[in-house]
């Protein structure tokens, strides 16, 4: 039991991950999808960061004392990169949402699908 | 003295030259067609010379795709026989085609002549192929090059027929035939045609019938029921195409492949010792009888001839399935005799169409009296198909029966006899109606002598005479296969 509780950070990660993933799949609103995606990604960031923690370790800045225990800095560096990538993804996503709002006047999935079907019918009509 | 290699190049190259010539001379129809006939004659001469000389084991590798796969040509007696058939009938068919196309004013004659020559090239390559890969490559080229011929008219009917034609032939070949070929490749490690076969001892006999099935049904061009539908469907094509499909190139390429695979891949001994081809005997017998019965019920002349072809192809597959040397020789001979007979019948059907625009048998009562030469040739060819001496067809049927006796297949004897009777009925009806039935008043058949143009009539007379010739010089054409 203690070992399970000791891993509370993983449970947190899993809960966040499922929350985010659920929002991505189940929400029709594109902004909500993006938020879900962000939560999903953030859970992964936390997975990495928490694994870099070494018990009783301090921040990985050289102290000059050879007995100092440091946390692992590499996951932090990786996640710094991943955050940058995540921000870029979010930016592209919202840019797309703005363009979708401009052209379709909605950002609801099901309404857009209807409008797309109309477009399909219209282009078929044009071709014939 | 020509080198064998030169002859291989000639047989493969001359039809290609002719097709190029057709393209280059498209502005001058007479030159265009003249050169095709001349090159055709040259091809025929080469084919005769090569056949008379016989195979000497020359092998020619044109292209090595990978170390174990190559496009190569190794003539052997059976292949030379097929090359002879295709080579000799091609110039005749060309003369006939030219006259037919001009007689009925078909469009796109250049395209037609071009693909006709390409189809012959593919047939020659199939005949001389030295391994299964080469055979498969040109088998597909033959299919695709005859597609524009079948759909030549461009109507909805033609498109529909083209779909059936291509669908069955390509699907069967890429699903079953290629499967079989790769299977052989994996099992035997080679694809070369070798006397006595390459599979003996390398495969568990239990699997042999399945492998044989992949080939029997993969070679859609052999029109074994139930894969025969493309053949009647392709009847929408102009008659010279039907002649090409039925007698010269396509179906003959199919049954030739079946025979070649049975003899040079499986090996006759291996087939008999494993009994792997027993089931094929039954299927082929069924195909023979069923197609004959369908033919009886068709009143469109070309459709009836098409089903007759399906039935006759069954003979050749049967010969391969019986897997005795005598039956295989008979099947090989039947390729030649049926080719001569069936091309004559189609030429006649085309001549009737060119002269009077008739295609239904019921309208042809009394027509024989207006077209005595055409009907005379038709009668001769019909007798040859039925198997009456002194015509070529008698020998091949006789040898097949002998083969059946060898293997104690009494039922096959019965099938052959019944089928001969059915042949007699459905082909005889046409001849009898033509010569003896009174012409319906006011019908086209009512009138004086009116033959098709001479360029249509002469080729069909020649092919009818070849049928007779085949009877008397049959020694020349009998190949012997041992093992």
């Amino acid at each position: 039991m203690t070992s399970l509780l000791a891993q509370w950070n993983y449970f947190l990660v899993i809960i966040l991950m499922m929350l985010g993933f659920y929002a991505v799949i189940a929400r029709g609103n594109m902004v909500k999808k993006m938020i879900g995606l962000n939560i999903f990604q953030t859970s992964v960031f936390m997975l990495y960061i928490s694994m870099g923690k070494v018990s009783n370790g301090t921040a990985p800045i050289l102290t000059g004392d050879s007995s100092t225990v440091y946390s692992n800095p590499l996951p932090h560096v990786l996640i710094l990169t991943a955050i940058v990538v995540g921000v870029a993804t979010t930016a592209v996503g919202y840019a797309l949402i703005i363009r979708i709002q401009e052209s379709f006047n909605t950002i609801e999935d099901d309404e857009i699908i209807e409008l797309m079907d109309d477009d399909e019918a219209a282009s078929e009509g044009r071709a014939s | 003295m020509l080198h064998s290699e030169t002859l291989i190049y000639a047989l493969l190259g001359l039809p290609l030259v002719a097709s190029l010539g057709v393209l280059l001379l498209r502005k001058w129809p007479n030159l265009r067609d003249g050169q095709a006939v001349l090159i055709g004659l040259l091809t025929a001469a080469c084919a005769i010379e090569f056949f008379a000389r016989g195979a000497d084991g020359t092998s020619l590798t044109l292209l090595a795709m990978t170390p174990s796969l190559s496009i190569s040509f190794t003539p052997e007696p059976l292949g030379l026989l097929f090359a002879l058939v295709a080579g000799c009938l091609w110039p005749l068919a060309t003369v006939y085609t030219i006259s037919y196309l001009r007689g009925v004013h078909e469009d796109n004659q250049t395209r037609f002549m071009f693909f006709y020559a390409i189809a012959i090239h593919a047939a020659m390559a199939i005949a001389l192929s030295g391994n299964l890969l080469t055979l498969f490559v040109f088998y597909e080229i033959l299919t695709f090059s005859t597609y524009p011929l079948v759909t030549h008219k461009g109507t909805e009917d033609a498109r529909q027929a083209g779909r059936v034609y291509l669908g069955i032939l390509v699907a069967s070949s890429v699903v079953f035939l290629l499967f079989g070929i790769i299977g052989v490749w994996v099992i035997a490690g080679t694809l070369d045609f070798t006397a006595g076969g390459i599979l003996a001892g390398k495969i568990d006999p239990i699997y042999v019938p399945f492998l044989l099935g992949l080939f029997a049904f993969g070679i859609g061009k052999a029109a074994l029921m139930p894969l025969h539908r493309w053949l009647p469907a392709a009847m929408v094509a102009p008659t010279p195409v039907s002649a090409l499909l039925h007698a010269v190139a396509v179906v003959k390429a199919g049954v030739f492949t079946v025979l070649k695979v049975a003899i040079y891949i499986f090996g006759l001994d291996f087939l008999t010792s494993t009994g792997a081809s027993e089931w094929l005997i039954i299927v082929a017998s069924f195909s023979i009888l069923a197609a004959s019965i369908v033919a009886l019920r068709k009143t469109n002349l070309k459709a009836r001839l098409a089903y007759s072809t399906v039935s006759q192809l069954g003979y050749i597959v049967l010969g391969a399935a019986l897997a005795s040397p005598l039956a295989a020789s008979g099947a090989a001979l039947h390729i030649a005799t049926h080719a001569a007979g069936k091309i004559t019948l189609f030429f006649c059907a085309g001549a009737i169409y060119v002269a009077h625009h008739l295609s239904d048998i019921k309208d042809m009562d009394g027509l024989g009296r207006r077209m005595p030469i055409t009907y005379g040739a038709f009668a001769l060819a019909a007798l040859s198909i039925i198997g009456v001496p002194p015509l070529g067809g008698a020998w091949s049927k006789f040898m097949l029966m002998g083969g059946a006796l060898d293997g104690q297949h009494m039922l096959v004897l019965v099938v052959l006899m019944v089928s001969s009777l059915l042949n007699l009925v459905y082909l005889g009806e046409i001849v009898l109606r033509g010569f003896f039935a009174p012409a319906k008043a006011g019908s086209v058949a009512d009138g004086g002598y009116a033959e098709a143009p001479w360029a249509c009539v002469v080729p069909l007379c020649i092919t009818a005479l070849i049928s007779i010739l085949l009877f008397f010089s049959v020694d020349f054409f009998i190949l012997s296969f041992t093992g």
């Binding site: 991505v24 990604q41 363009r99 052209s103 | 890969l133 490559v137 779909r163 291509l166 890429v174």
Partner: protein
Amino acid sequence: MMHHLPILQVIVPLLAAPLIALLRGREIAWLATFIVTGVTFVISLLLYYQVSESGARLVYDLGGWAAPLGIVYVIDAASALVLPIVTGIGFVVTLAARHLVTAEIDQRDHALFFTAWLLTIAGMLGQVTTGDAFNIFVFLEISSLSAYALVAMGAGRDRRALPAAFNYLILGTVGATFYVIGLGLLYMLTGTLNLDDLAVRLADIEQTRAAYMAMAFIALGLFLKMALFPLHFWLVPAYSFAPSAVAALMAATATKVSVYVLVRLMFGVFGIGFVGISEGLGTVLLTLGIIGAFVGTLAAIIETDLKKLFAQSSIAQLGYMAIGIGIMTPAGLAAAFIHLFNHALMKGALFLAIGVIGAQTGRATMRTIEGAGRQIPMTMTAILFGGLALIGVPLTAGFISKLYLIRALLESDFWVLAGLTFVSSALALAYVWKIVEAAWLKPRPEGAPDLYETPMMWLPAWLLVIATIGFGIFASPLINGAVQAAAVFFGGQS
């Protein structure tokens, strides 16, 4: 100079991309892109030559830091085979982009278009070259993010490109995140991200549940990226609403690179000895592969929009690659590499030829190509040859693919699967022939706009068609390359 080729392969397009964004004038932006893709193509050929000549693998330490501390770029027989596909296709498609982009993209956006274009290519090259698992993720995102933007640029002609790009973004990001999760688990287990080092350390540790989960997450993420059935739903809208040039580039290369990364991770890191690979992955790939082959082919048969039709066919073709990998033998993996290469050529040719039509009519549908065989014969003939290659007609590259795939299946006694593969590939005839009938056997409808073509328009497609036929006839170099590439991942076994 020759020593720096591995890094130049990636860095040249990566650095050129922002510079091109600064260029004004559409001709100059295109020309610069064309030159850069040409240079990357030459570099990849040199790399291939070096690797195949020496038989050794080239390892390049970034900044002089050796593995496992530093990031290394590794060129071995497998990556050397995939690089020329990406760069070669990129080069030819850029050649075609000249007229396609002029026709389809607003002139103000050209410089930005080509910036994103080079970034996509650079991202793909990075994924293939790098020897570091996290680096793969970074390059994956570089190529994906720019690809989302490129797909969205189709909005100038059809607004449906925007939702297509958005869905692509969502699923692409989910896939990439799955990959990162798997990687995190691997890192926890081994403490390294270098691919070679990972392989060594994984072999030592126990095959725990965490290792299986890592494998499953990574595989799932990459299945999404390579559009393996049933994770393929983003692909068809993304390809069909993207600008023609983008569709051609992505159809020919993007999914292929993901296939390569999958092979690299599954075989190169976990290795065939890993129970999850030998027991689980093979069955999954074979099953999904054959279902995907049928689903894609059948969907293509009923499709009337040519881009969508060939996008569906891509699902089927990816299925064949999955089958090749799933056989789990050197022969199967070699067959997958052969098909990966050949399919890139065929699909590139097809999408470029369709682009010629699409650039003129907005969309290439069965209706718009009716009777087109006489008006644009070179373009339609390119489609015919591409289609024949897809069916696997002899003397085309598709035939070689099929030959080796089936042989690999039969050698491992998958007779039924081989039969099913044959049936599904024969069904390809139906959708290819639909096009042939429409283009050649039907007359041009009254009032349909006249189509035209110039050599500059059909030449790029024909370059790939010629390559398709060339590799169908002279197949030895490719087969040798693929066998060597497969040997990279099975070397430890024998």
